[in-house]
């Protein structure tokens, strides 16, 4: 596969895989749990003793397990939100591109209008209005991020629509809906994969931003944004409470950005040949 011959894809994909694996298995293997407080070791620095690799927080809770749980939450939120935006974006873009004409123009005009909205403020509004519902975070972030996807998918669909195999399907009497979902959608796969990879870090950013402001994931549950927020208030004496979750968050975001860039190179090269 040419996918793994690209070094950027290999390295960034490897980092993401490694982090996800540790986040998945770490809390299970660790002797500590994310809830127990220990008042004998408040804010103790990272140590190998008792597998407290990331130290403890101001309540004496083990930060390694908490950070791993935070990564899990962050990744799950990001992936689900990206899938929501994927479904909305692909459906909207494919329909607009395939139908074309005046309906397409109207649908794209609506997208332009939505682009001008200060979305993040709407997400904050939504979180306030609906009691910080966890499921709602997914939907809200997904609903914010589908615009780019819709634009790109529409552009691709416009060019695919004119290709022979679509014409052939039409001649054979295949229904328009079936053409869109069975013939055009599979051909969008490459570009969609690239843009999902680039949507994930955006979703992570929104989620951690909300959690940082105290509007996202609520205690005792945690996410990387919540951990950074807690770290900020402890940073003067206990730098690790900020540096570890902040550094991991940056590493995850950077890996996804590089992965998206690398995948784009791979798919572009394939399209040129």
């Amino acid at each position: 596969m040419s996918l793994f011959s690209n070094r950027t894809v290999r390295v960034s994909g490897g980092i993401i895989f490694a982090i996800a694996t540790v986040a998945l298995l770490g809390p299970w293997l660790s002797p500590n749990d994310y809830l127990s407080t220990n008042f004998d070791r408040l804010l103790s620095p990272p140590t190998l003793d008792g597998a407290r690799f990331f130290g403890t927080d101001d309540l004496g809770r083990d930060l390694f397990v908490r950070t791993m749980l935070g990564i899990r939450v962050t990744l799950v939120v990001a992936i689900v939100a990206s899938l929501v935006s994927l479904v909305i974006g692909v459906a909207y873009g494919a329909v607009a591109g395939f139908v074309g004409g005046r309906i397409d123009a109207a649908m794209m005009r609506a997208v332009d209008t939505l682009y001008a909205l200060p979305f993040i403020f709407f997400v904050i509004l939504l979180m306030v209005a609906f009691e910080r519902n966890f499921l709602l975070i997914f939907i809200a972030i997904g609903a914010v991020n589908w615009l780019d996807m819709a634009r790109i998918v529409r552009g691709q669909t416009l060019s695919l629509r004119e290709r022979e195999f679509v014409e052939a399907a039409r001649v054979m009497g295949v229904s328009p809906a079936r053409i869109v979902f069975r013939h055009i959608a599979p051909n969008l796969l490459g570009i969609v994969v690239v843009y999902v990879t680039l949507t994930i870090p955006q979703a992570i950013l929104v989620e951690s931003f909300l959690s940082f402001l105290g509007l996202g994931v609520q205690e005792p549950q945690t996410s990387l944004g919540t951990l950074v927020d807690a770290g900020v208030s402890q940073m003067e004496g206990s730098t690790w409470t900020l540096l570890i979750p902040g550094g991991l968050l940056a590493l995850i975001l950077m890996s996804f950005n590089f992965l998206g860039d690398g995948l784009r190179d791979v798919f572009d090269a394939r399209q040129e040949t």
Binding site: A116, P118, F121, V128, V228, L249, A250
Partner: protein, 307 residues
């Protein structure tokens, strides 16, 4: 040009109306009222409060009332800050945010464009790779991680700059917030400038200019910079939105009494009119600034004007 501006201004009206309707509905769909207290109030007092704020009217009537207030530039009373209107609060908080945002934007454009152009001129060099590595890092690290790190380094460890807004009145208090806010934008703008500068430098008219014996700096200044700026200019719209979002975090961390801080406080306090007012204000601002960017586009690229 005037016609173009007018058409764009009219085109902004549906966007603004959509913002107002969506924000209004969201705020009113929220379960629990802004005046819910720990202890239940007597029913007639609650009814009085509801009447005073017109909350007893049907929703469409409330919306029309709000809309007609908006048309007269009145955003209504704040639910939480007694005796203050939303206009008062925005009026005191916005100048602070504006100063912060404008300085950050200026810094971002100046540093980003120079760094990006310089990197493009020495493509593949050590300098180029440093700029690009910095830029990728800047894009990836969120503002709310950068801000505390800068505070830790420059305010706590080195003690060169103040960490908070209220701890001093000297001008130095704005340095860290502005840098924090500008950093991710510097990263984006330098990337954009580099890519478009490399593209422009490869075109025929640049080769012609060089063949006429013009030096590199003259070619860049007179011929390359203007076309290379177009992608950067179209990024200005998203950049403005990003700076507004970023300033919410920066104001929280540095304790700056700007609009972003009022927004978050309002959201946490369920001060619905304040939150609604700020969203509408931000939306109008973004729409207006996007319009300015579009007009500037026409100024830089005459082909846009002629269409």
């Amino acid at each position: 040009m005037l016609r173009y501006t007018l058409v764009r201004l009219l085109g902004a009206i549906p966007t603004l109306l959509l913002v107002i309707v969506l924000a209004f509905l969201m705020v009113h769909a929220a379960p629990g009222g802004p005046f819910d207290a720990e202890r239940a109030l007597p029913a007639d007092i609650e009814a009085n409060i509801a009447r005073a704020y017109h909350l007893d009217e049907p929703l469409p009537q409330q919306f029309l009332r709000y809309l007609s207030g908006l048309l007269q530039g009145d955003l209504g009373p704040s639910y939480r800050y007694r005796d203050y209107t939303v206009n008062d609060l925005i009026g005191t908080a916005f100048p602070v945010s504006l100063k912060l945002g404008a300085m950050a934007m200026l810094l971002a454009v100046m540093v980003g464009v120079s760094a990006g152009s310089a990197a493009a001129l020495r493509q593949g060099s050590y300098f180029d790779r440093t700029v690009m590595a910095f830029s990728m890092t800047g894009i990836s690290i969120p503002v709310f991680v950068v801000a505390p790190l800068l505070v830790l380094l420059f305010a706590v460890k080195l003690q060169w700059l103040p960490a908070g807004w209220s701890s001093t009145t000297s001008a130095s208090r704005i340095v860290l917030p502005v840098i924090t806010l500008a950093l991710p934008q510097i990263a984006y703008i330098s990337r954009l400038t580099r890519a478009s500068m490399i593209d422009v430098l490869g075109r025929d008219f640049i080769r012609t200019a060089r063949a006429q014996g013009l030096g590199t700096m003259t070619v860049v200044r007179l011929h390359a910079l203007r076309p290379a700026m177009l992608p950067v200019l179209s990024y200005m719209g998203p950049a403005i939105a990003a700076i507004l979002t970023g300033s919410v975090v920066v104001e929280e961390i540095f304790g700056i009494p700007g609009l972003g801080q009022f927004f978050v406080r309002g959201a946490l306090n369920r001060d619905y009119t304040l939150v609604l007012g700020i969203v509408v204000f931000y939306a109008a601002l973004i729409v207006l600034l996007n319009l300015v960017v579009d007009i500037l586009y026409g100024v830089i690229d005459p082909r846009v004007r002629r269409r």
